[in-house]
């Protein structure tokens, strides 16, 4: 029973690690928590749906194209909405992201209604591996998430663009002075966000179903993961997501299921009280 729950938790953790990484990267570069992240996942998922179910494209192709579209869309949104507000402080940006989230969620609702949808995918039968019951969607979730994490790790640690992103997160004015093109880094960050969030959208759509709240349901868990790991630390986002995912699932063994999303909340509270910088973050120095 416990191993099964742990496994389910692993899958959940794998799914939320993608948006958690997305917001932690964004926070590092743009210094505000993006409350629209849940709705972006939703819209990306519906974009995949449109390509996959309405146009008949294979799911993988639809996902890749949607990821690119999502990234481009986010770059546009940034230049229209967030860039003019860059000097205005993080609360303005947070409220703006809240507004954006409302718009996106309701765009999905406007075009697709409240009924649940699913991708054009053959129904896979669950199978057993030892004592565990699993299905192929779950394995895809773990695999895809691991792959994307690895790609992100290589990007951040080995490639010049990754170094630039970490440099801007570390010290924005020094980054300017060392010649780093901030606008370019910001575009890349949004592109990466688009990819990660579209990926999450596909995984959630496969694991559950598509409906307008599919992304926002995970909002608290995503933030809990990112904060637990330390806002700004990519490794932290990954570890945080796994911890939040597994503990949420494990909590269903002792708590009524309606409270499952309450567990991440407790994490947020506990972390912020005892160790605000999270597991891997550094104390935020506002200079």
């Amino acid at each position: 029973m416990i191993t099964q729950t742990l496994f389910n938790g692993l899958v959940t953790g794998a799914i939320i690690s993608l948006p958690a990484l997305a917001i932690t990267l964004l926070f590092g570069v743009l210094k505000f928590p993006n409350f629209a992240v849940g709705s972006i996942v939703t819209v990306a998922a519906y974009a995949v749906f449109a390509l996959n179910v309405q146009l008949g494209w294979p799911l993988l192709v639809a996902a890749v194209v949607a990821a690119a579209l999502c990234g481009a869309f986010l770059i546009l949104v940034d230049s229209v909405i967030f860039r003019p507000m860059r000097d205005s402080g993080s609360i303005t940006l947070m409220v703006a992201s809240l507004g954006l989230g409302l718009i996106l969620e309701n765009l999905a609702r406007f075009f697709y209604g409240n009924a649940a949808r699913s991708f054009d995918l053959e129904l896979s039968m669950p199978f057993r591996v030892g004592a565990l019951r699993m299905n192929s969607e779950q394995l895809v979730a773990i695999g895809m998430s691991a792959l994307l994490m690895l790609a992100m790790y290589l990007l951040l640690m080995r490639m010049p663009m990754g170094r630039k992103m970490r440099a801007i997160a570390d010290n924005p004015s020094l980054a300017l002075v060392r010649g780093i093109d901030r606008a370019q880094v910001i575009r890349w960050t949004w592109m990466i966000n688009g990819t990660l969030l579209a990926g999450a959208g596909v995984l959630i759509g496969m694991d559950r179903a598509l409906e307008p709240l599919m992304g926002t349901n995970y909002l608290i868990a995503i933030f809990a993961a990112a904060i637990l790991g330390g806002l700004g630390s990519p490794l932290g986002a990954f570890v945080g997501a796994l911890i939040v995912g597994t503990s949420s699932e494990l909590s269903t063994l002792v708590l009524p299921p309606g409270y499952r999303t309450g567990v991440p909340l407790c994490f947020i509270a506990a972390i912020l009280i005892w160790r605000p910088q999270g597991l891997f973050g550094r104390p935020l120095i506002r200079r």
């Binding site: 970490r166 004015s173 002075v177 780093i180």
Partner: protein
């Protein structure tokens, strides 16, 4: 005369009011110019304005004869400036090597600068301590070593003009001497230097020109030798006396 930098009636500041109230000066190519003055005179702000962190309100900045007033910081670096801030001048959470790589990649992108090794031979010669610490997190370096790294990164982009904000601040006497020696050596390779310093005596010893600032304006612009001869009283009661007014 062919100044590498020329400022004319520069006004700048943040919030209401100007911090720089019309600064005019020039830096001759290949020289070392030191700016001294009391706290609050705008010296640091001047450097920040030059690199592009504080917006210019009036006046102009000419680098190699070209106006860079409208350029952002990145473009100014591409045009030939390099800046070492007084504090937080390295990426503390990245290794020494990564710090150097960032500047090196920038230099390589400039195109007409040679690429070569991240820690070039000349940098290795100037800052031998860095070679052994490439994998160390920059935040874990000592103050003097951090300064060396900041300096090396600035030099990596092969600037025409190097701008330093109190390079010797907080350093032990040994590192202070090292830093000034490095400044001299770098200057001999053709890099012009503009620095703000509180350790006036040591700084003037290696400088060609000295500028005294007070209250957001240039009060005195003379050769370093002339300023060295001046009595401290003369200096502070003369050009700086107007500050009280």
């Amino acid at each position: 005369m062919n100044p590498v930098l020329e400022l004319s009636e520069l006004r700048a500041g943040y919030g209401t009011g100007d911090i720089l109230k019309g600064v005019s000066l020039y830096v001759e190519r290949g020289k070392i110019v030191t700016i001294i003055g009391p706290n609050g005179s705008g010296k640091s702000t001047l450097l920040k304005t030059l690199i592009g962190l504080v917006p210019v309100r009036e006046g102009d900045i000419l680098l190699n004869g070209q106006s860079i007033r409208a350029f952002g910081a990145t473009r100014r670096v591409r045009a030939g400036l390099a800046y070492v801030p007084q504090e937080y001048n390295v990426f503390a959470n990245m290794t020494v090597l990564e710090n150097l790589q960032i500047s090196h990649e920038f230099a390589a992108r400039k195109g007409h600068r040679p690429a070569g090794n991240v820690l070039s031979d000349e940098l290795r010669e100037l800052f031998p301590e860095l070679a052994g610490k490439l994998a160390t997190r920059a935040g874990n370096l000592s103050g003097g070593q951090r300064q060396m790294l900041a300096f090396a990164c600035a030099l990596s982009v092969r600037p025409d003009l190097l701008i330093l904000d109190e390079p010797s601040a907080g350093l032990s006497p040994k590192y202070m001497a090292d830093i000034f020696k490095s400044v001299e050596r770098v200057n001999k390779t053709g890099v012009s230097v503009l620095m703000v310093e509180q350790n006036a005596v040591e700084a003037l010893a290696i400088s060609d020109q000295c500028i005294v600032m007070a209250n957001g304006r240039v009060r005195l612009d003379a050769t370093a030798r002339q300023v060295e001869q001046m009595d401290l009283h003369e200096l502070y009661l003369g050009p700086l006396a107007e500050q009280a007014a």
